[in-house]
Amino acid sequence: MIDRRTLALLVTLCLGQVLLISAQVQSQGGVPLLQVAAFDAFARVQRVTTAITDAVTGVWSGYFGLRGVARENAELRQQLLDMAVELQQQRAISSQVRSLEELLGLKAAVPVETVAARVIAGNITPGTLTVAIDRGTDDGLAPDMAVIGAEGVIGRVINPVASHAATVQLLVDANAAAAIVFERSQTGAIAVGGQSDGTLRAEFVPVLADIEPGELVTTSGQDRVFPPGFPVGTVESISGAGTPNRTIRIRPAADFSHLDVVLVVLTPPPPLPAATEAR
């Protein structure tokens, strides 16, 4: 039925991979050199395939998908107008805050330096929610840098990071987490991914904390990855309220199914106060 050589090869291949897995599990690390080399080589190909697919979709949307453009244009104009008004309001608030900071003698917040990157590939392995972007170590990227989008937090840079490409772990991935704060109640917690419905689960929320559905959730900066104040999402549902088993689901602000351009935060979050760090 099966010759010995085939069986021997099967056993060798399986055993080799079991040893490879156990070596990584024991050392708590990956195979960085091999990973970076493979990722770097494929990133070039990914960039080409992205250019081709973008050209095809560009031709489609540019020539064939023009139906409804006038309507979309009107909607966008309205949006632009609304945003201009909002921007003016934000500017007014910002100047008020600055003058208050000056009055109180507070140190101004560190401006966040970002670099724009394009998503060039999706999650190669189903089950792990990662994307590849077209910026790497040559652009100043390093692991654990925060990645944000127009609507909110997207994720963080993880290994492998090549010279012109990097991997981003999305916030909804099973191994992703971020330190958050509920805006209304100012309660700190940890948002973790891995939910089958694409939401985030809030962990370590004090039992007595008053959380309401619809409440805005932002980053707290306590994880030293995500700068504070960036929107993470809104509280979607609370089950088992008033019990220690209360489950809080957060609907992410970012739409992970349409990722095109993202911003990588190059500035690390400010260090925690000495007292907090000592604790």
Binding site: C14, I21, T167, S196
Partner: protein, 173 residues
């Protein structure tokens, strides 16, 4: 020659996976075109080709996604071998028959992946039957298209060549 064919099949699978997965990130519809390529290699060229394709494709997936290298590799090696074994034991010439093997392999692969991840992380990773079913459906559909293409294209090309030759003959006389 067989190794080159397996390598090309797997690399094309990986390229298609990274190119198309960009449009479904975070969505409900997940697929594994590398697995489809591995099953194709197994059914087309036998168990050795299936397991080598599985090892190459799986390891490449692991290295590119930044996860523990070997998890997907091990799962795909076993699935590729089983697909190759089925291919040698049963006569599967029709595309829909081969697609059913893809469906079965998708489920076995997902269960293997969950089991391996569970063993490593010491807890059963969260997954739903719906997500597994969606992945199986998309993989099966992709497999059906691939097998149908492989069955149809060579005949189509041969017929076109024959037609061209016949036309050339008529012109000569």
């Amino acid at each position: 020659m067989k190794f080159t064919s397996v390598l090309v099949t797997v690399v094309v699978g990986v390229l298609l996976q990274v190119a198309l997965a960009r449009f479904t990130v975070g969505g409900t519809w997940v697929f594994d075109l590398v697995l489809v390529a591995v099953v194709f290699a197994g059914l087309q060229w036998g168990p050795t080709a299936g397991m080598i394709g599985g090892t190459l494709g799986g390891l490449l997936q692991d290295l590119l996604s930044g996860t523990i290298a070997g998890v997907s590799g091990l799962a795909k090696t076993l699935v590729g071998f089983v697909a190759g074994l089925i291919g040698t034991q049963f006569v599967l010439t029709r595309a829909h028959g081969r697609s059913i093997i893809v469906a079965g392999c998708s489920i076995v692969h997902r269960v293997l992946m969950l089991a391996l991840t569970g063993l490593i992380e010491q807890h059963w990773p969260g997954t739903t039957w719906g997500a597994m079913l969606a992945e199986t459906i998309v993989n099966t559909a992709a497999g059906f298209v691939l097998f149908q293409l492989v069955a149809t294209v060579p005949g189509l090309v041969a017929r076109q060549r024959l037609g061209r030759r016949a036309g050339f003959g008529r012109r000569q006389w």
